[in-house]
């Protein structure tokens, strides 16, 4: 199964995919659609991806985490129309050592935000809509 999906993301199957009898710690992260951003009320988001590159980049990130720590990692990112509270991204990392599980999970989420070609269009309660630009820090004040 791919890393990028148009289906709702459930955490349990990701955890099930990484856990094993010798791996006692599973750290996970869910990124959910918030009801506000940059001081504006958000109704929903439309996520789009450069799908083949997003798949390749997610695969590279997972491989890096599994190479750097003794972990097994699962990762999903959703695309399409998401409502407030929906899961946009989920990652799980299982290890014999909880430090490695936390570090790998954190690494994967940070790298996804930094490197995976995904964009989101934000639909506001006031009828406006905008492509979200995390590099435009002023709009986030």
């Amino acid at each position: 199964m791919g890393f990028v999906t148009a289906e709702p993301i459930e955490l349990a199957p990701l955890i099930a995919a990484v856990q094993a009898p010798e791996r006692g710690g599973v750290a996970s992260f869910l990124g959910l659609v918030r009801n506000h951003h940059g001081g504006r009320a958000v109704l929903r988001l439309e996520y789009s991806a450069y799908a083949p590159m997003a798949e390749a980049e997610c695969a590279r990130i997972v491989a890096e985490a599994e190479g750097r720590w003794q972990v097994s990692v699962a990762l999903r990112h959703r695309v399409g129309s998401l409502a407030v509270g929906d899961v946009a991204v989920a990652a799980a990392a299982a290890s014999a050592h909880r430090e490695a599980a936390f570090a790998a999970c954190r690494y994967v989420i940070e790298e996804v935000k930094r490197r995976v070609p995904i964009w989101k269009r934000e639909f506001h309660a006031d009828g406006t809509e905008v492509w979200v630009d995390p590099t435009a820090t002023l709009q986030h004040a």
Binding site: Y50, P117, W119
Partner: protein, 88 residues
């Protein structure tokens, strides 16, 4: 080879999100002088109608991986110009 013919290269460039909106297209075909780099691609894109909305140094990808502006492009490469990423 006659001196009057400049070697050229045709590439297909993918556009996304706000950049697709700016140029009114999700992909464009560009004929570039050869050799060319990703910076050449960006320069030609910015000369198109709406292209002035692109920054001078956007994120670029070549063959499904991030790539620096000075990377050469070749016929058949999958080139993409990426607006600021907003995943997660």
């Amino acid at each position: 080879m006659p001196a009057s013919i400049t070697p050229s290269l045709t590439v297909r460039v993918l556009l996304f999100a706000s950049y697709a909106d700016a140029l009114g297209a999700e992909s464009v075909s560009l004929t570039l002088p050869s050799p060319a780099t990703l910076a050449t691609v960006v320069e030609h894109l910015r000369a198109l109608p709406g292209g002035e909305q692109l920054p001078a140094k956007p994120l670029c990808a070549r063959n499904l991986a991030h790539a620096a502006a000075d990377e050469p492009v070749a016929a058949g490469d999958e080139i993409a110009i990426l607006p600021p990423l907003a995943g997660g």
